[in-house]
Symmetry: C2
Subunit: 331 residues, 2 copies
């Protein structure tokens, strides 16, 4: 195992130190491993929190800032944060208008966020939860009952975050987050496994000439193994799976071609060319797009495709100003 | 070899298609493999061009846009663009105020840009050239006479690009680009080799427990091999090499911790924590910083550190608005 680390048990702490040093707009509560906006919560604004295992950077800490999250809880690598972290984050961002928990659908995350919400309610904080479950690859998975949550998380955090800046009630933020999740679908393909610092070896074996179709962002098995194939063939599997579940024809779309960490950007652009061509051929109209590493799986090679059916309102919220380490425009 | 491509010879063309589809603010001349700003040149503004082999994305196409480059020439993977591409780019961005060629110091790039400059001069376009040579690792290298050009290229493109937006004369843009290059130093460390599509196998052999200290961005040999070591130990080699060449004590600094493509962002933050700590211990004052993948070497694992001694004027130009795929603020 070759990693740029100081010790297997120090990765998350050291990375949080690096995040604090790199991003003056963020503040880090090191005891609770919570990243918040510097300057604290905005009076009267619904607070938005997410979190999950580390190793998926920039998710979630890279999405904290104006127009997106108020706080992110960092678990250990590929391990849910604990309820105490989530409770600390909830209290840190509560400004009297309630707090939304944006939770990717993994069993540990769901249970821990639920416990944190109950503890927060005991302390008088109104909490609502939206569970993200956009991954069409499998119905149940290694760490999940129901569909896994993946790329739609970025869309929900951005769009719900933009609406929250307008100081609307908690229910409105919940509604738009729910709407974005329901209108979004994802599918991922791995060319290689990733290696966690703790295990020191690849999380699964993948022959040199095969890919995992429908892989999860921790390397969970997908639908099946297949020969490597061209970019066009791989993208076709992903786009077809999404289109079978949520037809794209005639819709305005937001599309993300996301790298899993180990795939060079030049290859992501090759894949995005195929995504754009194939979605157009299906009759979808791409109006907004992201290409890059937004939800990674450490050093895994491969990509995920996420598509959201837009409305005019959702497009406006997507275009609204955002100032985070990983997404920034309009400011 | 596992890559998301359609064919070894199609990578650059397909990636340019993907870039054009992903970034509506950019335009692509596919015949010449030149990326420009959509909307053409700004009257009276010095045009800024860079370019080089592909495989280093987002460099250079990801730095085309308001406040940075006017055009980027994309060579084949790790191969200099040819003079005809550079000439086409030069003519495309010429708005009567002259054109600056920003050239990383690799022999092929230098010779080809020189020929393009002569051809452009024959056509009546005033061209100036600044060669970037910030890498302190080795005096000469596999593809270079003199020091290699690496991370300072991003600083030069940003700062000279900001000044050019003020419609100053070509000489002023040349002077600031030269100043930034002279005030900047870099050092890189590889944990693994990268694999080009054409070769299909890693460019060099690196034992499981060793790193290449002072590696070039195409995998060129550095100063020496060494045991892997901790993040703190690796960063110390890089920061010490820079500080030995350009003492940092008492200076305001711009710092980039750059990933070479295959290292997860969480590890880059771990390394940046060590960079910030060690530079502070040396008496340097970090005023601005970038952490992420800005000049990559395909899927190489490892990082580079680049430091620039700031002045108040350079800081203001760094902070000026920029709107490119890879750097965006103030707009």
């Amino acid at each position: 195992m070759k990693k740029v680390i100081n010790g297997v048990d120090d990765v998350v702490r050291d990375a949080l130190n690096g995040i604090a040093a790199a991003h003056p707009n963020l503040a880090v509560d090191f005891e609770n491993k919570v990243i918040t906006r510097a300057g604290g919560p905005t009076a009267g604004k619904v607070g938005l929190i997410s979190g999950g295992g580390s190793g998926h950077e920039p998710l979630h800490g890279g999405f904290v800032g104006l127009g997106m999250l108020d706080a992110a809880c960092a678990g250990e690598i590929f391990t849910s944060p604990v309820p105490d972290q989530m409770l600390a984050a909830t209290k840190a961002v509560d400004a009297g208008a309630g707090v939304l928990h944006i939770v990717k659908n993994y069993t540990g995350d769901v249970l821990n966020f639920q416990m944190a919400a109950e503890l927060a309610a005991d302390d008088g904080v109104e909490v609502a939860t939206v569970v993200i479950n956009d991954d069409v690859a499998v119905q149940d998975s290694l760490y999940t009952a129901g569909r896994r949550g993946t790329g739609a998380t970025v869309f929900v955090e951005k769009i719900a975050g933009a609406l929250a800046e307008q100081l609307v009630p908690l229910k409105s933020v919940v509604d738009v987050a729910t709407e974005v999740n329901e209108r979004s679908r994802s599918f991922g393909i791995a060319l290689s496994a990733c290696t966690t610092p703790a295990s020191g070896k690849p999380g699964f074996d993948l022959p040199d000439d095969e890919v995992e179709l429908g892989v999860g962002i921790h390397g969970e098995p997908g639908r099946r193994r297949a020969p490597l194939g061209t970019s066009s063939e791989l993208v076709n599997v992903a786009v077809s799976a999404i289109n079978d579940d949520l037809p794209l024809a005639g819709h305005d779309l937001l599309v993300m071609l996301n790298g899993l960490g180990g795939t060079p950007l030049v290859e992501l652009y090759v894949a995005y060319d195929d995504v754009a061509t194939q979605i157009a051929a299906l009759g979808g109209r791409i109006k907004r797009q992201l290409v890059g590493n937004y939800i990674t799986s450490l050093d895994m090679a491969g990509f995920t495709v996420t598509v959201c059916r837009l409305t005019d309102d959702l497009t406006s919220l997507w275009d609204a100003p955002v100032n985070t380490p990983a997404l920034r425009w309009g400011v």
